[in-house]
Amino acid sequence: MRWLAARQFRVQAAVGFGALLAVAVLMLVTGLHLRDLYDADCKAHVCSGGAERFVTKYHVLRALLGLGVLATPLLIGLFWGAPLIARELESGTFRLAWTQSVARTSWLAAKLTLVGLASVLVAGLYSLMFTWCVSPIESVAQERFNLGAFDEHGIVAIGYAAFAFALGVLAGAITRRTLVAMGITVLVFVGVRLGMSLGVREHLMSPVKKGYALTATPELGFLASPSGVIPVAGAPRLANAWTLSSEIVDKAGDAVPEATLHEFVSAHCPRVASPPSPAGGAGARTASPPARNEFDSCVSLLSTQYHEVVYYQPANRYWTFQALEMAIFLVLGALLAGGGFWWVRRRLT
């Protein structure tokens, strides 16, 4: 059985591993070059030209290679998963394969094992090579926990690939049409991935809460909201951590309504609350030089009553999150594969 599974997979495997090899060469060259640049320019995550310059200089390359990491599991689901059963059903060859002296579940097990392992291998290798390749950039940018970057690095791609592959296989078994199965794979995969990244991930562990004095907040400004001009605190930069949200709270730790903030600003620093400029009130503003003093004193006054709290996932949870997310997708993939077995055994009769 393994021979047939391997023989049928030969061309697809050549394409997949060939592409991986080409990307590997590209990433090896790039990775070594980036290391040279880093050594020449930077030390201990700090670059002489500034982090921004080093990072933005290569952001296109990083985005393109990273896009490949994101796309690889989906491509695997489309071109390795969806046709696995569907093409046999379409072409009628399942009637040949399933009437030899081997149970169809063994047939499926052989195919799933071989192509499934190849899937996680390709996606995992690509992701790890990418992680290595751009690590000089990441060590300066220090944002690997952020949305997007998290999905492109480390081991999560292994889970994504297993999930996408099993999804394609099951969709192919159910629909019996490769193209329809591909369509379903795209929709479900993208949907589940977005749901995970944008919805579920931040709740995998309860976030850490940290308070900051408003005077210590790097990006404090005033914004014209529907309730009037209110102070707005940006989140402080936490290296390699994932900042989820921030808000201004009072001494009791409760969130402060916008109306209360506006009242406070109007009462204590009226010049900030109703700026003299004719265009005033529209959009965020940081203090212009003439108003600098008023701005600073207003912030000082505010910080006597209020402070900012930031909710975030700390940097040391990065690998825990990677492992959790990979495990979740591996389990999803295993469930879908089990569904594939059930379908082939019970429903295709």
Partner: protein
């Protein structure tokens, strides 16, 4: 023979609300070559897929070589199958198909496979996708026969072949069946092709078994009567009318009877398999009428 090559009891298969096969009861003795005939959509493929475990019954039971089909995958070792349109992997070569057969069947007869490929003139390195229809059918038959089954099931194996390839294929099949003592069930809507090779006949129409039996007995028990026009109802009770056609003056009846026909007013003729099949196919538009015949026709 103690076990039947194929035996079904009240076998039925339903797709949604439609019964593709219904209340099918058959017994095919070991060593027979059975022709399964019937119009397109009569349930032939469904019955054959049930026989090889590609489908599972919605009702009733089916046994091949004395064991319930699908109970144990090892059971497939003894059943060879050539599916409709002889599906093969187009990118795999002839030799790779043999390797496929060898790796998936414990009883694979490598010698026979090599001998057959040589005799059929197939190039082992040629891809199956480039073979002609006849060569594909021969390769598919080789795969099925080299696992050395006791029962060989073929679904419309000659439907897509030209007349010459058809004859060669059936001849080859018969030689193989005789040499290796394989029971054969093959379906076709070309009755004439089957007449030459089958000793058993099963006629399916609209999902029901319309006729089943040993070909010689079926032919011996049916006669065509031609004579002056008369009402078929007035025939002796031993003569059952299968098909009747009348002109103004003349009646032509196809009757089944186990007794000789003595009435001198009839011109009595023997019937061929094709006539018989067409006659039974014509009357199965009403299955209720056809069903009582079964017990009488079956051996």
């Amino acid at each position: 023979m103690s076990t039947a090559a194929l035996q079904t009891h009240g076998l039925g298969k339903r797709y949604g609300r439609r019964w593709a096969l219904r209340n099918c009861t058959l017994s095919i003795p070991v060593g027979s070559v059975v022709g399964l005939v019937g119009p397109n959509g009569a349930g032939k493929t469904t019955l054959l897929h049930l026989a090889v475990g590609l489908l599972s019954p919605s009702a009733g039971s089916i046994e091949a070589l004395g064991e319930p089909v699908g109970s144990d995958p090892r059971h497939l070792t003894n059943v060879g199958f050539v599916a409709q349109d002889t599906p093969l992997y187009p990118t795999l070569s002839v030799a790779e198909h043999l390797r496929l057969g060898e790796s998936l069947n414990p009883g694979w007869d490598r010698e026979l496979a090599g001998e057959r490929i040589g005799r059929l003139g197939l190039d082992p390195s040629q891809r199956a996708g480039q073979l002609s229809g006849g060569q594909k059918a021969q390769l598919a038959l080789t795969l099925a026969i080299c696992k050395r089954p006791e029962l060989l099931v073929l679904d419309e194996p000659v439907a897509s072949l030209d007349p010459l390839a058809r004859r060669e294929f059936l001849q080859d099949l018969m030689e193989v069946a005789t040499e290796y003592e394989v029971s054969v069930v093959l379906s076709s809507h070309l009755v004439g092709e089957l007449e030459r090779v089958c000793d058993h006949l099963v006629l399916l129409a609209a999902g029901n078994v319309a006729l089943s039996g040993h070909v010689e007995e079926l032919l011996a028990s049916h006669r065509r009567l031609t004579g002056a026009r008369r009402d078929p109802e007035r025939l002796p009770a031993s003569q059952e009318v299968i098909e009747a056609s009348h002109t103004d003056r003349q009646s032509t009846l196809l009757v089944r009877t186990s007794e000789p026909i003595h009435d001198p007013s009839w011109a009595v003729e023997e019937v061929g398999v094709e006539d018989l099949v067409l006659a039974y196919m014509g009357r199965t538009s009403d299955p209720q009428q056809a069903r009582p015949q079964l017990s009488a026709v079956r051996r």
